[in-house]
Structures are given as structure tokens and as C-alpha cells.
Symmetry: C2
Subunit: 173 residues, 2 copies
């Protein structure tokens, strides 16, 4: 199973790709898609759609996991984030990838063991769990953390189902 983890944002969307092989997780790639500053909404959505399509074409993931965004106190920011998230999920639906969603709490709990961990702790644990030489950039680290969370959930779901493949929460393939 190759997981594409995504941390959607209205300006920067992080992505991280992992291979899952039993209890082992292998780092494949990570990075950021930046939407054009000062671009119109259709331009920003187009850059997100193209960016995700390029990542999918380059790394051929078999499943996607998306972080459930933080609902901001500023309604305008929440709307922008929602629009970016809608575009990200549109790109994944078009790529016909099964999509799972995880809250920030689930991700921090899975990776750091503490739902209230800060960004630096997530970066450090992602570096350790994936045996990376350097500290991953914050948005890429969040996306890799989402992929790691999916790896844990998918592993335990498979165990519970006795190795059978079933739809659960998101969809397992």
C-alpha cells in the first residue's frame, strides 16, 4: 500500500508519500503545493488540482489520507480553507483514489502519542519514525504524519478483519 497524505491549506498544501510494508513505513517523497499569491480563486484552485494530479502521476499512490482542517475563528479563513479542501478532495476523487480523513487530534495522537503536541514535536517524530536525515519542512511533516496515521489505522483495521479487505471509516483497498 502506498499512502498519499495531504494537509490542505489555502496558501500551502503539504503532501507526503509513504510505502507501508507490514509494520514498516518507508519514506517515498514529500513537499508542498503553493497557490499563486494574489491569484483569483479559480487560478488558486487550478494550481491545487494540477499540483495534486502531478503528485499522483509521479508517485502512483494507492490510497489517500487528508487532514480534517482546523475550523478557524475567522469565518473568511474558514471559507478559504474549505474551498482549498474541496479542491484537494476533488483532485483525489478524479484520480479515483480511496480517501480517508483524520482529525488533527487523531494525527497527533498517532504520531506523538499526545493530541495536544505542537508542530515541532510532530516534525521530530516524523523524522524519527521515517529515519529521515533532516527535519522535514512543517507542512510536509504534517502531511507525512497524516499518511503515518492512515498506516496505523489501516494496519489495525486489517488485523481486526483477519486480513480481509472491508470498507471502514474511509475505504481500504
Amino acid at each position: 500500500m502506498r499512502v498519499l497524505g495531504i494537509d490542505p491549506g489555502s496558501r500551502v498544501t503539504g503532501f507526503g508519500v509513504l510505502d507501508i510494508d507490514g509494520q514498516h513505513r518507508h519514506y517515498v517523497a514529500s513537499g508542498c503545493i503553493r497557490t499563486p499569491v494574489g491569484g483569483t480563486l479559480p487560478q488558486r484552485i487550478e494550481s491545487l488540482l494540477k499540483g495534486i494530479a502531478e503528485v499522483v502521476a509521479a508517485y502512483q499512490p494507492t490510497v489517500a489520507a487528508v487532514e480534517q482542517v482546523f475550523v478557524n475563528v475567522n469565518p473568511q479563513s474558514t471559507l478559504l480553507l474549505g474551498q482549498a479542501r474541496g479542491a484537494v478532495i476533488s483532485a483525489l476523487v478524479i484520480a479515483q483514489l480511496p480517501i480517508s480523513e483524520y482529525t488533527a487530534l487523531q494525527v497527533k495522537q498517532a504520531v506523538v502519542g499526545n493530541g495536544h503536541a505542537d508542530k515541532e514535536q510532530v516534525q521530530h517524530m516524523v523524522q524519527r519514525l521515517l529515519r529521515l536525515n533532516g527535519l522535514p519542512q512543517a507542512d510536509a511533516a504534517d502531511a507525512l504524519a497524516v499518511a503515518l496515521t492512515h498506516a496505523n489505522h489501516a494496519g489495525s483495521a486489517l488485523k481486526q478483519l483477519g486480513g480481509g479487505l472491508k470498507i471502514r471509516r474511509g475505504r481500504l483497498t
Copy 2:
């Protein structure tokens, strides 16, 4: 010019198609795309993408106009609305349609002449302006009102530009 007007919503997305011929506006079609109740976010986004793609394939609009959504006081509703809007604009970007955006205020002002008009007034004015036999359903009426607003703006933009085609606000073709 054939305009596809869209009023995005997390449950119901209205659409309306008009032909613009000088000062004349001709009704072509209108309706609603309903997302599956209780569906997952990817399922709801998929139904929106397919719904918009079918409308575009059936009526072959040359330009799209989308209502800028009301930012709700409830952050969760704002996020859902943003996601639906992101999916709608993704579908229009994929269909390679030029996209313009109009606020509810602009739409009401263009159609009723009063930015604080209520839904019923919009329905009645849409029926009158397009010489429809019956009152259009509320979501379809809003979408037709967005298309009418674009017709007015595009007309005046063309006049100002002396008939030349230029990018303005959204994009004119």
C-alpha cells in the same frame, strides 16, 4: 454567449443556463444538484463534480458565474459550504470555463434593484425577466439570478471596451 449560473450549497447546488443575445436573455435550463444525504465528504464532492460535468456536457455553456457564498456564523457550516464551493469551481476549471464571481448583494441589486431583497422577490423577478410560465424553485432561481447578473456585467464591460474582449473581474471570452 451562454451563461451557466451556479448557487453552491453543501446540500443543494442550484444551476441555471441562459443565452445572452444583445439585450435579450433567453432561458435555456435550470435545476438542482442534490448531494447524497449521509454520504461521506468524498461521495458528496463526487456527486457535485459529476452533476456539474453533466450540466456542462448537456448545455455547453461558454462562461460560468458563481455566487459568492454567505459566510455563516456557524464555522462548521462555513467549512462545508467552502468545500462544496471548492468542488464546484474545480468542476468548472476542469471544464475549462471562464469563471466570474458575484456577491449576493451584487446579484440582488442586479435582479431586484435592492441588495436586501428576499428570496421570494428574487424568484418573482427571475420569472418576470425571463418570461417563465411558473415560479422557478428557489435554488434554481438564485442560480438564474447569478447568470442574469453576469449578463448585465458582461454587457456593460463589452460596452466600455468598445466591443473588444478583455479580461475583467472574471474572464470574458
